[in-house]
Symmetry: C2
Subunit: 187 residues, 2 copies
DNA sequence: ATAGATAAAGAACAATGTTCTATAACATAA
DNA sequence: TTATGTTATAGAACATTGTTCTTTATCTAT
């Protein structure tokens, strides 16, 4: 329905413009041209609306890390990581919502499943790089978790403005390179 | 003053018990045995109280990463990182507040300075490890930022419950090891 | 001991999430 | 076409919470 999309669009705009504290049901509804009740009839509650944003965010993130196959699986993994950062930097408040509110929001199984699917993509890329002997280790899940942790930390601190490097994109790449080198097979 | 400490203690307890949404001025004041006004006369606002928690948190974090000198600077760095994780896991809501609210709260210069001092400790450890040729690179700030990013990401996801590794402490150590290996001088 | 200042308690106010109620729109069946 | 049951909407109303105001108590200094 058009109103549902309008509400999500309005919420996304307000979120990035004013941050989470500025995201009120009244403002979202007004911007979408409906009464506050419209939010409740469609999303059940404000948390329901936030969950819709959460899912929209993970769908976007999924698209951002999607990459065409390349000669080297490790290169493809790297490209996906750059897409990850690009998404986070372009949608800082949404990214913040997606990850920092996970702890507070109790998400529906569908929402959790969607988030997990993004992680699954990363696991696949890691697995491919292991198969091509560009990464060492036995558990692709373990390694993917570690890569994700590092990426998430870097973009989180960058979004929060807690970053002391001069070139942040370069710093992100350098960290990732060091990590992947440390994960490479010893010879 | 005793009341100020009581308020902070009460706020810390409520924070860890019920999370940030459950941290209301009324509840904090009641638990400390004073009227809500007591919060405002001492901290100015709820955000002022949160900033006090923020500063308490960074003082605790500073203590947690403090380690006696060891034979190897890199070992000392590793020990400090383990202390970092221990603090975060033992005070998840406080850790969450410290880092995720940085973006929203506008902190006083003193608060920012305190946070930066913790980072300074990390930079020193990295610098020492560079001097002893256990780490490569030129900018200890850059490298420290990358180490911090990875640590922060790992504990953030762990706290948020977004962690697919079986042994989380081991996963943290493995990530850190890989990163530090990747940062070691090539030979 | 008293005057001034300080702090506290409780009421009151504003914003916001949520619910209630009455009304309007709409689909469906005879 | 019309009547009816359902759904959606608008606007008011309610509860919670951050904040402020007002009055009262307490404390300090001379």
């Amino acid at each position: 329905m058009a109103v549902t999309d309008s509400l999500i669009d309005a919420a996304l705009a307000i979120l990035e413009e004013t941050g989470l504290p500025g995201l009120t049901v009244r403002d979202v509804a007004a911007r979408a041209g409906v009464a506050p009740m419209g939010v409740y009839s469609r999303f059940g509650s404000k948390d329901g609306l936030l969950e819709a944003l959460f899912m929209y965010g993970f769908a976007s993130l999924q698209a951002a890390i999607e990459t065409p196959p390349t000669a080297s699986p490790l290169t493809r993994l790297r490209t996906g990581c750059q897409g990850y950062r690009r998404f986070a930097i372009h949608n800082p408040q949404l990214y913040h919502l997606m990850f920092e509110q996970m702890l507070l929001l109790d998400l529906s199984p569908e929402a959790k499943d969607l988030a997990q699917r993004s992680f699954g993509t990363l696991v696949e890329r890691v697995h491919a790089a292991m198969t091509s002997s560009e990464l060492a280790g036995t558990s692709s899940t373990e390694v993917a978790q570690q890569v994700w942790s590092a990426m998430h930390g870097a973009v989180s601190l960058e979004i929060a403005g807690v970053h002391f490097a001069t070139d942040r994109a370069q710093s992100f790449t350098a960290m990732l390179d060091a990590l992947l080198i440390g994960m490479a097979p010893r010879r």
